[in-house]
């Protein structure tokens, strides 16, 4: 690096967890090819199973599924986000404390299960284009339609919401940058209460700016939709499950079965 970087280098957020979320890995893979609905269903099933049968079997099998998915999606190590030092330190302190509290096993179990579920979610985000999600929701929500629920407007809301999120990301970035360029206020009130007051005011400033921009954008979206004939009717397309989807469902079913059976069969200490 050069002299410029040496002086007042701000925190590099380049590989922080915030910057790797919902970013499609820029290549095709078996996991990319799956129907978005398949990935959402399997993810939900695995989350539910892990919550009902949390234990070493779940932790082990989920870890295997995460690794297998990562290999199938050709995820390189360089994609793995850097974990914030505060998080790492907190987790380490927790581990040490639970060790002395005679419960390191419980601690590790719950940590491993939460981490694998988070990782699975991130993997789905990395391999699913946002625009594929809304059509999948239309198909998945088709049964709810019979109950009279307004599935169509939910799906349209999802589609519009996902179109907006990348723009919002940019806006948050600009907002913070504009803030950084401004000189800081001299603190108003004395002591902690004054500081708290300043912070609250600052937050409300930022939130108002975001909301003001969003409300204008919302009204433009509304007009744009009206000009194209109003809220569109999204129809579920024909469901075409490819071999990859069938295999994913099979693996999920086998994994689920294995977790359930192992948790029931294994002696109590191994389950929970």
């Amino acid at each position: 690096m050069t002299a410029v970087a040496g002086r007042t280098q701000p925190k590099s957020r380049r590989s922080g967890i915030g910057s790797v979320l919902l970013r499609l890995l820029p290549w095709r893979s078996a996991v990319h090819e799956l129907w978005a609905g398949t990935k959402l269903i399997c993810l939900t099933v695995l989350i539910l199973v892990a919550l009902v049968f949390p234990g070493w079997p779940a932790a082990a099998i989920l870890t295997c599924i995460v690794l297998a998915t990562a290999v199938a999606a050709r995820v390189p190590l360089s994609a793995v986000p850097r974990i914030h030092p505060i998080v790492t330190i907190t987790l380490l302190i927790g581990a040490v404390a639970s060790f002395f509290g005679n419960g390191l096993a419980y601690y590790l179990q719950s940590l491993l299960i939460s981490a694998t579920l988070l990782a699975l979610g991130i993997l789905v985000g990395w391999t699913t284009a946002l625009r594929e999600v809304a059509p999948a929701l239309v198909s998945l929500g088709a049964p709810l339609r019979r109950l009279g629920l307004p599935v169509n407007e939910w799906a349209v809301a999802c589609a519009l919401c996902m179109r907006t999120v990348p723009l919002l990301f940019d806006e948050f970035r600009i907002l913070m940058a504009a803030r950084r360029l401004r000189p800081p206020f001299e603190p108003r009130g004395a002591g902690r209460l004054g500081l708290l007051h300043d912070r609250a005011e600052e937050l409300i400033d930022l939130l108002s700016a975001v909301l003001a921009v969003s409300i204008r954008r919302a009204s433009e979206l509304g007009t744009a939709m009206r000009l194209r004939g109003g809220v569109p009717e999204l129809k579920p397309g024909p469901l075409q499950l490819r071999p990859g989807d069938v295999m994913t469902f099979t693996v999920t079913a086998l994994g689920t079965g294995a977790i359930v059976i192992a948790t029931i069969i294994l002696p109590a200490g191994w389950g929970v």
């Binding site: 967890i17 404390a97 929701l137 939910w154 519009l160 919401c161 979206l221 509304g222």
Partner: protein, 691 residues
């Protein structure tokens, strides 16, 4: 200045939730956008634990939906936000979003009914037990996960007490142990009591914040010119040309003292390129509203086909602001938006008709203003309209973009489409088959003209050459970029080389234009010059010092001024931009001087930020920046969203600032009109390389 009250519709509580009417376009738009804000806040809160409290702010956007629309819109927002939060940050964020949607929805809907703190407390006393019971039942269902979490927490806390024991703090340790044991044993009671007490506190806090935020947002006047037009079916397509006859039509806006249109007679009987011109307030927009389906106050409008706004074979409209008409994330998706999935459409052919051939998979965010307008046109054409209304669609596009747009528009009548193009610009009139001029709500001129040869459209470029400021050629440059390269996300799969060995120098009182395609690195170079991004390689020196060490000396005006104006009023914002605040005579003078430097009257100081027009916002943002006495000023797309007159005024203002304050000015723009007044030099960025 007066406040415009927001239109609010109150429904019965049953209709609120179970629905009745489906959501309208504007309800759905609000729900979707604000759900996105909420989802991002929740995700940030859950992924960055030390700012976890930010997640709670997600209640505010959701409460704003509840304050503006029916509960049905809040439900749609909850579903959309929950899905996005789930994809971004997992199951816990999704659950949190639903909780915040209920809290925000209740508070917002209470505010909409004009009730205050008492009702909030009443509602929260009812909601508290419900929340508590819901949480307890979820933990009962997932008992194994609960046991595991409790065991893990117990072990961690016990570890801490063991440590306290060893320090000799026996009584503290045993108290903690006992408290934990009781808490875990009667967890359900703890949750219920917590919900009973916590819910009112949280809801009151949300209500306080919401009221503060709403006081600012109330100033926003959203302009939705077509809100009262009900959609109609298009009916059977017919081969006959469109026929519309207006006779003796008058129109008066609700609450207006005078008619906007006074006795208008007009016959549209053949597909042709009609250009409607006239000053602001001459009735052009009102005429377009009538053609788009609004009813006249008096007089008769006869048509041989229904209006069918946005429907196949009906009426299509393209409007002024390019980016606001786009609904899809990619070009093809946008063209297809809202077209029935069983309709056969040829996207590729439509795109090539408007000159966007081969761009179907481009993200819409990478298109320039002119390209976006042609995309909007493609989305209109794919509906095979009989009538196309272009409502000042060329006003915010640069000269090259204007040419291309007019060129497409004037050839559409050959495909049996009647085109009505509203414009301020006289040079566009030359290409009309028929020219209609309005003044004071009447047609003062209506003639068919031979038209220009069909071949090529040429619109003369406006602008004059300013005198480039004189400077000493040997002087040291004020701002120097030396071999700057930048790669985003270096070392990850998303790595993207944006700049490659770029060197630029800029002197005092000099203007530099950086131009190039969107996505070519223009914004990155601006952020680097302002010290906001540290490039992966190279140096940026301001007067010989690294720019990051003197951040703030290079001011930056972002494309969207509202994001830069963060205080409630003009006065407070201009002061904040220089780190000042408070009342006092010195500050009064400071604000007055800042406003006059950008040509704004001092009365504006008290104005709420959201009561400003787009052009005023840009100027106020500039006033704040200039008042902080920067050495250089960078403007990212300063002309976006301005019409030609405002553009020229802004350019002249910048040229004056450059000369009077010896400011170095960098314009980042893909729009070349008027820039020569400010900039004596132009560089072009393409694929991260300067030329």
């Amino acid at each position: 200045m007066q406040r415009t009250p927001t239109r609010r519709v109150l429904d019965s509580p049953v209709d609120e939730i179970s629905g009745g009417r489906p959501l309208t376009s504007s309800e759905l738009g609000t729900a979707a956008v604000l759900a996105g804000v909420a989802a991002l806040l929740v995700a940030v809160g859950s992924l960055v634990p030390h700012v976890g409290a930010i997640g709670m702010l997600a209640t505010i956007p959701l409460a704003v939906i509840g304050q503006r629309h029916r509960a049905r819109a809040v439900v749609a927002a909850a579903v959309a936000g929950c899905t996005v939060a789930f994809l971004v940050a997992g199951i816990s964020s999704a659950v949190a979003l639903i909780v915040w949607a209920v809290v925000g929805g209740l508070v917002g809907s209470t505010v909409r009914r004009g009730r205050g703190a008492k009702t909030i407390i009443g509602v929260s006393l009812l909601a508290g037990p419900v929340f508590g019971l819901a949480a307890v039942s979820i933990l009962l269902v997932f008992s194994a996960a609960r046991d595991l979490a409790f065991a893990s927490v117990a072990a961690t806390v016990h570890g801490v007490t063991v440590f306290l024991h060893s320090l000799g703090l026996v009584s503290v340790a045993s108290f903690i142990d006992a408290a934990l044991a009781v808490t875990l044993a009667s967890w359900w009671l703890v949750i219920l009591v917590g919900a009973l007490i916590g819910t009112p506190l949280v809801m009151l806090l949300v209500w306080r914040i919401l009221s503060t935020v709403l006081r600012r947002l109330d100033w926003i006047v959203v302009d939705d010119p077509f809100f009262d037009i009900t959609p109609t079916e298009s009916g059977e397509p017919i081969a006959d040309p469109l026929l519309i006859e207006l006779s003796g039509v008058e129109f008066r806006y609700a609450g207006a003292a005078e008619n906007a249109l006074r006795g208008l007679d007009l016959v549209l009987d053949r597909p042709e390129f009609i250009v409607v011109s006239g000053r602001n307030g001459s009735g052009k927009s009102t005429l377009m509203r009538l053609l788009a389906g609004a009813s006249a106050t008096r007089g008769e409008i006869r048509r041989n086909r229904p209006v069918a706004l946005g429907a196949p074979g009906g009426t299509a409209i393209i409007m002024q602001r390019p980016e606001s008409q786009i609904l899809g994330m990619t070009v093809a998706e946008d063209v297809r938006w809202g077209v029935r999935s069983d309709a056969s459409i040829d996207i590729e052919a439509t795109l090539s008709d408007v000159g966007l051939a081969g761009m179907r998979d481009r993200p819409t965010s990478s298109l320039s203003g002119g390209q976006l307008q042609r995309l909007a046109l493609a989305a209109a054409l794919v509906r095979r309209p009989m009538l196309l209304i272009s409502d000042e669609s060329t006003a915010m596009v640069d000269a090259a973009g204007r040419c291309e747009l007019i060129d497409v528009l004037r050839h559409l009548p050959e495909s049996n489409i009647t085109v009505i193009h509203v414009t301020h610009s006289d040079d566009e009139v030359l290409y009309a088959d028929r020219h209609i001029r309005l003044a004071d709500g009447r047609i003062i001129f209506d003639e068919r003209q031979p038209g220009m040869p069909r071949e090529n459209t040429r619109i003369p470029k406006a602008g004059w050459n300013g005198n480039p400021a004189l400077r000493d050629p040997d002087a040291r440059p004020l701002l120097a970029l030396e071999n700057v390269s930048h790669t985003y996300d270096a070392g990850t799969p998303w790595q993207q080389r944006t700049l490659h060995r770029v060197s630029v120098e800029l002197h005092e009182a000099e203007g530099l234009l950086i131009t190039g395609e969107n996505g070519g690195g223009k914004s990155t170079i601006a952020w680097i010059m302002a010290g906001l991004i540290i490039p992966t390689d190279g140096r940026i020196l301001l007067d010989g010092e690294p720019v990051t060490a003197v951040r703030g000396s290079v001011a930056m005006a972002f494309q969207h001024p509202r994001l830069q104006l963060q205080r409630p009023t003009v006065r407070e914002d201009i002061l904040a931009a220089s780190g000042r605040r408070g009342s006092g005579h010195a500050n009064d003078i400071f604000v007055r001087d800042a406003l006059s430097a950008v040509g704004l009257p001092p009365e504006l100081a008290a104005r709420s930020i959201d009561a400003l027009s787009g052009g005023q916002m840009r100027r106020v943002a500039l006033a704040g920046l200039i008042a902080s006495r920067p050495r250089a000023l960078i403007l990212d797309e300063p002309f976006a969203g301005l019409d030609r007159e405002s553009r020229r005024q802004l350019a002249e203002l910048l040229a004056r600032l450059r000369d009077q304050r010896r400011l170095a000015i960098v314009l980042i723009s893909h729009d070349l009109d008027e820039t020569d007044i400010v900039c004596s030099r132009t560089v072009r960025l393409a694929d991260g390389v300067l030329s």
